[in-house]
Amino acid sequence: MLRYLLRRLLSLVVSLVVASMVIFAMVEVVPGDPAAYMLGLNAQADTLAALREELGLNGSLVARYFDWVGGMVQGDFGTSYTYRTPVAGMVADRVAISLPLALYALALSTAIAFPAGIWAAARRGRAADVTVMGVTQLGVAIPNFWFAMLMVLVFAINLRWFNAGGFAGWDEGFFAAMKSLTLPAIALALPQASILARVMRSSLLDTLNEDFIRTARAKGLTRGQALRRHALGNALIPVLTILGMQFAFLLAGGIIIENVFYLPGLGRLVFQAISARDLIVVESVVMLLVFAVIVVNFVVDLAYAAVDPRLRARL
């Protein structure tokens, strides 16, 4: 067990180091000098040089990499080129929206997908199955921004249950904040839920064909009991894999939905930073996302072990 944990942790650290190098290198080779961009076309050469010096763009590549990484380890993400405020604070404000949004969407997606997938598998080939498969096919196919706009039209403009966009802020109380995240979370969750429901269904159907389900039925379990007690746990492993991938996507991929709902989340921050050549912000946010993905994968690995005793024994 300890060995497994150490190995997973080691691979986590290695992934982070490699990712940081790649991100740093990519931002370095991207064309566009932030200093020149900030000062505009008519900048004087000496002003430009001074600004470059101030922004720390002049040192050697290696020294700048270590400055950057060293700073991040201590919580110092540098200062935004455009806003002239510490990146750490900006990112923290955005994470306070994007992380709850991702978790909210993930919870919704799971809450929809698990029952739907189980229901469809239990009634394979019957009306329920056909319905779930049809609806999820649509859910996968429909672009979520279009669905988001539809929801704004119905629930915000016509029914006036929700605001059409913007974020209430956590100062307004938990429920007000969550309310303003509800429509975006639904828009994010639906395609994910469709995929997850289909994975759940097919994984369950595979498991229901296993010999041990027949054994369970021979013991006197009903179809439903055999499904709940014996198939579900075994069917969970591929579902966990997808769930892990989806969380990463939800955290980083909310950019379009954030734009539709005017949410000041991470996605919008990256988008604005890229347009403004605010490379230090881009680097920091991307690094943060990579960190989140790697941590989620680590948790998924642990979840596999929790589900499957064979894996635990091999740890």
Binding site: T215, A218, Q225
Partner: protein, 529 residues
């Protein structure tokens, strides 16, 4: 009164008739052997009793289990009977248990589902059931997971689950087919003891006549969904009224006509061969251990002879086979064919490999389903320096030789039955006209009548092609009938070697004795005509 009474049972699945007019009965304390080849409907008969049939199945007739009419009872009532009045044991113990639940929980579930008892009491009774199935508490605590047990031990857990509530009827569907002979003997003894202790009826389904000959009171012989012969075991075994019964008996003990083709000239020499594997590291910084799967094995195969290699699962025979085929290198000793090593550098020695081919057990898994037969059979040509110009003629010839016919060339393997596929596999092995063919459990997956045909074919080909066979099998009766010499392998070592008749009639090593004693045999009067 009978415990189980099946009368004129017809069953069809989506309109295809599977069972026709099946009648049989099991009395309390009686063992009824149901025998048949694949597709005979023996398993479907059992599943009809359990009413666990595939979707689309329709039954007509009567199945009455201690007074309950199983064909009309609603599903809820059937669930109350399954596991309680009737238990079932299946063929494949490796997959019959839920891999992520503890064995104690799985056995206790049978009790908890049917009786309103506390979990603690159910666990105590699960313990009792496992004890009765000879899985003692000190070695097999309730907290074990299935993957920590061997196949035979898992089958005991499945049996414990089935008998936990002392059902009146136990249905065992090929319960020992996937097990080694010594394990098979133990499981059969266990089943017999449970029948005696609880007075339950046992419906024992098998393809192996010898298994039931030893223990059944009544025998039912099935073929293509019908009962062809039934009656008291001794009578059926002695009289064999129906031609199919006679054919089945003949095929079970079939002895192909073999010419003495041994030449005395050595072909393959294995000298002190050692095969080792690295095992898991222990602890965080530990070094991997070494597992010696083959421990200094020496023997040789002569041109044109048939050498048998028998042993139970895990004895190292597959590992040895891979080394002989040059798929893996040895860690000690030498394996040479005509003085040339079978493995050179990092790969098999191509010059040797083309003179040595293999046929595996599984006629379904050993072909690429997307290739046509012609391409499959021609595949070994890649061992030559190029496909000969007349390769299609050669493929046609060899397909003729194995009794498939050249018109199979443009077809895909899924169009062929298991026996036909095995013939195609033999054709593939023969296309390069090898000198040695390794038959790795090559007839083990086949029904007895098909097996008899393949054994005849192998005998004929041996003569025509001048082949030497290395015949690897766990089935002692087959090895006895088709080999000149035999080697017995245990735990990576060859413990006995000699002329086949001598080893079987007068075994010297205690392990050989145990193996031969455990193998079920047909009674004398049944094998003599």
């Amino acid at each position: 009164m009978s415990l189980l009474q099946i009368e004129r049972l017809d069953m069809e699945i989506h309109g295809t008739a599977i069972l026709r007019n099946v009648s049989l009965s099991v009395a309390p304390g009686q063992i009824v052997g149901v025998i048949g080849e694949s597709g005979s409907g023996k398993s479907m008969t059992a599943l009809s009793v359990m009413q666990l049939l595939p979707d689309g199945a329709q039954c007509r007739g009567e199945v009455s289990l201690s007074g309950h009419d199983m064909l009309t009872l609603p599903e809820r009532a059937l669930c109350r009977l399954r596991g309680n009045e009737v238990g079932m044991v299946f063929q494949e113990p490796m997959t019959a248990l839920n891999p992520i639940k503890r064995i104690g929980d799985q056995v206790a579930e049978t009790i908890l589902i049917h009786e309103n008892v506390s979990r603690a009491e159910a666990m105590a009774r699960a313990r009792e059931a496992l004890d009765r199935c000879e899985l003692p508490a000190d070695q097999f605590p309730l907290t074990r997971y299935p993957f920590e047990l061997s196949g035979g031990q898992r089958q005991r857990v499945v049996i414990a689950m089935a008998i936990a509530l002392r059902p009146q009827l136990l249905i065992a569907d090929e319960p020992t087919t996937a097990l080694d002979v010594t394990t098979q003997a133990e499981i059969l003894t266990l089943l017999k003891r449970l029948v005696e202790e609880d007075g339950m009826g046992l419906m024992l389904i098998t393809h192996d006549l010898a298994v039931v000959a030893d223990m059944a009171d009544e025998i039912v012989i099935m073929r293509q969904g019908e009962v062809v012969e039934a009656g008291p075991a001794a009578q059926v075994l002695a009289e064999r009224k129906h031609p199919y019964t006679r054919a089945l008996f003949e095929a079970s003990g079939h002895q192909p006509e073999r010419a003495d083709t041994g030449t005395g000239a050595p072909l393959l020499r294995v000298e002190n061969a050692v095969r080792e594997y690295a095992t898991r590291r222990k602890g965080v910084w530990g070094k991997p251990g070494v597992f010696r799967a083959v421990k200094s094995v020496s023997f040789q195969i002569e041109r044109g002879e048939s050498l048998g290699l028998v042993g139970e699962s895990g004895c190292g025979k597959s590992t040895l086979t891979r080394a002989i085929l040059g798929l893996e290198d040895v860690q000690g000793g030498r394996i040479e064919m005509d003085g040339e090593p079978v493995f050179t550098g990092q790969r098999p020695n191509r010059d040797i490999r083309r003179r040595m081919q293999v046929v595996f057990q599984d006629p379904y898994g050993s072909f690429n389903p997307r290739w046509k037969v012609a391409r499959l059979v021609a595949e070994p040509f890649h061992l030559l320096d190029g496909r000969p110009a007349d390769w299609r003629e050669q493929v046609a010839k060899v397909l003729d030789d194995v009794g498939i016919g050249a018109d199979a060339m443009e077809r895909y393997v899924h169009e062929f039955s298991g026996g036909q596929r095995q013939r195609i596999a033999i054709a593939r092995a023969l296309i390069l006209r090898p000198e040695l063919v390794v038959l790795d459990e090559a007839v083990s997956a086949l029904d007895v009548s098909i097996r008899a045909q393949i054994l005849d074919l192998l005998a004929a080909l041996q003569k025509d092609y001048g082949l030497a066979y290395l015949f690897i099998s766990h089935d002692l009766s087959v090895v006895r009938n088709v080999t000149d010499r035999v080697m017995v392998m245990q735990a990576g070592e060859i413990v006995e070697e000699g002329p086949t008749a001598q080893v079987f009639d007068a075994p010297v090593h205690p392990y050989t004795k145990r193996l031969i004693a455990a193998a079920p045999v047909l009674p004398e009067f049944a094998t003599q005509d």
